[in-house]
Symmetry: C2
């Protein structure tokens, strides 16, 4: 199949850019130093490429991501870096381990007496203590981590260590004292680790992946596909993900293509259309003004355009499949098979 024949809007992954990103990260954080986060792509075929680059442990955000990775044979060492008290989903993950014949390992984040109790009740074997290191979201206080670990051990679970996500620092510029800020967050995590024990200290994301010599593993995900938000940070990762759209209307002052709100995560704002200025998205459309003299200046109905999302994760979650492409050739169709919860 040719890219120019794809039905639109189509989620398109540039094979060379993806390979460049995976190889670059595998050099920076080889093997188990990286625990790629599958929430950024929700695609077991892409996770398999990450495993091929040496990363065999993965981070997940939802039970369905965990179970989908197990079903794809990628369940060697999965971390649900998120809290849940859903008894049915916890039991499903416990069963996946118990029936996995030693090939499946699932570790669940806990940060409270309730999440420990729910995990233990469901038969979960291994947990990490999630620690609040500055992002107002999940995680216990660093000073409470020892107590949570003790609760988990008393409930018969193995405590593998700690995790903490400094999400508030992802978009800080390097020049703005980023290393010192990350170090302060890691200080809190290591303080918790002293009280918790275990071999794992898990933290970070694409925005801080280069600043984490003191943790055992980094949970980056966005580096594989990238987006316009992360592109501002100057990392050596290329934009690998775009939406292919078709122009459906051309007006003297604007043109319209079929890439709308239901094809794009919008929390980081409008997408970017190279060669045009995006005015706005509506449910099924993007309205743009071509840049004067640019390559879209004489755009016509039926032409294909490229739309680059501002935030990769909620964009991918809208799509049933992505197309791995090189030039005009579609190499593979990859199901986005980890959607939902």
């Amino acid at each position: 199949m040719r890219v120019s024949e794809l039905p639109t809007p189509a989620l398109v992954i540039d094979a060379e850019a993806l390979e460049h990103n995976l190889a670059t990260m595998a050099e920076r954080l080889p093997g188990d130093r990286l625990r790629p986060h599958v929430k950024a792509h929700k695609c077991t075929a892409l996770a398999r490429e990450q495993a091929r680059h040496g990363h065999t442990g993965f981070t997940c955000a939802t039970p369905r991501e965990v179970l989908g990775m197990v079903a794809a044979g990628l369940g060697h060492d999965l971390l649900l870096a998120n809290e849940t008290v859903d008894a049915q989903r916890l039991r499903a993950m416990a069963r996946a381990v118990d029936t996995g014949g030693g090939a499946v390992r699932i570790t669940i984040a806990v940060d409270s007496a309730e999440t420990v109790a729910a995990a233990a009740e469901a038969g979960i074997h291994e947990v990490l203590v999630d620690v609040d290191i500055g992002l107002p979201r999940c995680g216990c206080a660093p000073t409470d981590a020892g107590r949570i670990a003790e609760l988990a051990r008393n409930a018969g679970m193995e405590v593998r260590g700690v995790m903490g996500y400094e999400g508030h620092l992802m978009m800080v510029a390097d020049g703005d004292g980023k290393q010192a800020k990350v170090d302060a967050a890691v200080d809190l995590l290591l303080q918790a680790h002293d009280a918790v024990g275990g071999s794992v200290v898990s933290s970070g994301g694409t925005g801080t992946h280069h600043l984490h010599p003191r943790v055992t593993e980094v949970q980056a995900g966005s580096y594989a596909l990238m987006d316009t938000a992360y592109a501002t940070l100057g990392f050596p990762f290329r934009n690998a993900l775009s939406l292919l759209g078709t122009v459906v209307n051309v007006h003297p002052s604007w043109f319209v293509a079929d890439v709308g709100l239901k094809a794009l995560g919008m929390d980081h704002g409008n997408s970017a259309v190279p060669g045009a200025t995006v005015w706005y998205h509506s449910d099924e459309h993007v309205t743009c003004a071509p840049e004067a003299g640019g390559r879209l200046a004489d755009v016509r109905v039926g032409d294909r355009i490229t739309v680059v999302p501002a935030h990769v994760d909620p964009t991918v979650a809208y799509h049933e499949q992505a197309y791995l492409v090189t030039g005009d050739q579609v190499l593979e169709t990859w199901p986005i098979d980890l959607r939902g919860w």
Copy 2:
């Protein structure tokens, strides 16, 4: 099943509020005066309720919505109120008519020589001319509508009339000269209709449904479920759609529930959580501060909360199903079966 047992995040439709909205609109715009837009809910079960209230013609935004409505036996009179030059999808819609034994009618919007040619080539029988009446998106110039209609008739297609969507006026307050603004848009549409002919003049949305005595039908969709954006306009429609979430973390200053960016369309901004102030959403979470003394002041891990989306259409598009509920009872599970393109 009980609402309190639903896995979360869950898309929940309040049965009484939905019935109130459908009955209220059916009184205001009975029968064929309303052509409900299915893009707002992407759910044939909900469309069937709209048909039960007397509206048997429907508006769609994508070929998949059209074909899904046909498959559900709701293809009596479908309008694709959107342009496409996708030959395969146009042919699929033409086939649905040709094999429908007279029970399926599909009308496609056209606004250019290219969209007319694509429809004719695919074997489409009926079109409407889409007219630009002020929203910078699709639609031909009102003065060009006669030419487009002639192109369509010369290509052997029936031209049923005109449509125009004044989306830029949806959120204007009634007191702010809204009727006059809608009238000016309708003037353009009627000018086009003079040149095009046909029996259909289709326009409007929930935000202008009450201001359209001069068109033959209104394309409202959001009225059925509503959202926080439309709620500001003071219509007699109730919020019928919410996300059910589970609290997964409680901190002294905030709490966190499992309703994030992948469960909510974010183009209209944050959702609302009754009893709390929403700080922000991340991929799988909402972080909120409880209102002092409010009912969420002593919220605990495992508690259920209600999250009201800011924009219903892109929210629904993230979900596999919605639950029709009354009180704590789940009455029905409705697949969101019109997702995608």
